[in-house]
Amino acid sequence: MPETVTLEVFRYRPEEESEPTFDSFEVPYHAEWMILDALNYIKDDLDGSLSYRWACRMGVCGSCGMLANGRPVLTCTTYLESLLPGPIRIEPLEGFPVIRDLVGDIGDFMGKLAAVKPWLIRDEEKPVEEGEYLQTPSQLDDYKQYSMCINCMLCYSACPIYRLEPDFIGPAAIALAQRYNLDSRDQGAEERMDILSQHDGIWGCTLVGECTEVCPKGVDPAGAIQRYKVSATVDYFKSLLMPRRSL
């Protein structure tokens, strides 16, 4: 095993340069180190000006997503060892404007996430005295997979459609909409359909499938989108055949 490993880190300092550059850092190699540990070493000991996001260090908060050798990964769950011998190239997630170094502007995603209303919508809340909304294990199983999404945006970075058509609502937002649509307690599917059935919604997806490939939590956004396409099509034909019912 090597004693050190080289990281080529994307740098963008808008107050100093108009184009990004790469800085090379040699960091100690430890078998138990993740990429994030190496970045923290750089920040603490080599160059305190390096900017990047991180928080939980255990693959839950979804804030440390970056490209490692071109592949979108959570840097807190990716071992340096998996990318040896190096140099390991670290870049910000693609598809998002870079504010500084490895920090992208995620405002676009946050707006789209809110647009699909990722919360339980009820026509009418039942009184507290009537107790909780019960669910069978099978009903839980219907949406559980999608509820694992941590909003890390790796799927957006992997999706070429999002890069080419930035108005596309994107994989995670649609998967989260599906998470609530498939929840037996939810009644908001129609409200979400208004946003998701637009051209920039589910129909923007051409099924490259990379979103599912890179998801660190085993969510299947590509599957969610295709399922949504089927249900949107069925709803459309239902409304054609039975226009009164859809009123």
């Binding site: 963008y12 808008p14 107050e15 184009e19 990004p20 071109g70 693609e94 404007p97 870079v98 504010i99 502007d105 405002g107 707006g111 069978t136 099978s138 199983d141 219907d142 070429p160 890069r163 080419l164 051409t206 099924l207 490259v208 499938g209 990379e210 490939e213 299947d220 590509a222 599957g223 295709q226 399922r227 396409k229 089927v230």
Partner: protein, 136 residues
């Protein structure tokens, strides 16, 4: 922050997408290759329409069309078209379990059952067309 301000912020770095972005990854290239097979599917559909139109124009037109279809170069080209269309069809059908989840009561139908349903329907359609064309 005002979203308009964000969209036109001059200092934030935006990477442009190169025209050959799909050559960067094997999976992207495979995706584009499959998309291109749609051209062959469209060709097959157009060829069918042309054949029907030839029938409509009378016996001479139809026989002329059939003679052209029997020339070796057209036969070779159409074998290639058939192979590409088969590839398109099979890869399309294989995606069906991703889009269709069937629940019978509390039980989810396995992906293989959805797949078999699609291949079964394809086999039945093919058999009907073959019966009409060959044996009837």
């Amino acid at each position: 922050m005002n979203p308009q301000y964000r969209a036109y912020h001059p200092r934030w770095y935006r990477k442009s997408v190169p025209i050959f972005w799909w050559l960067r990854k094997r999976s992207y290239a495979a995706f584009i290759a499959r998309e291109l097979t749609s051209v062959f599917v469209a060709y097959s559909a157009i060829m069918l329409v042309v054949l029907v139109l030839a029938m409509d124009r009378g016996e001479a037109a139809y026989v002329g069309m059939m003679d052209w279809l029997a020339t070796p170069i057209v036969v070779a080209a159409h074998i290639l078209v058939l192979l590409v269309v088969l590839f398109h069809t099979i890869t399309w059908l294989n995606l069906a379990p991703m889009a269709i989840v069937v629940k019978l009561g509390d039980r989810k139908l396995p992906a293989s059952a959805v797949l078999m349903g699609h291949y079964g329907a394809w086999a039945v359609c093919t058999a009907i067309v073959a019966w009409l064309l060959i044996w009837r």
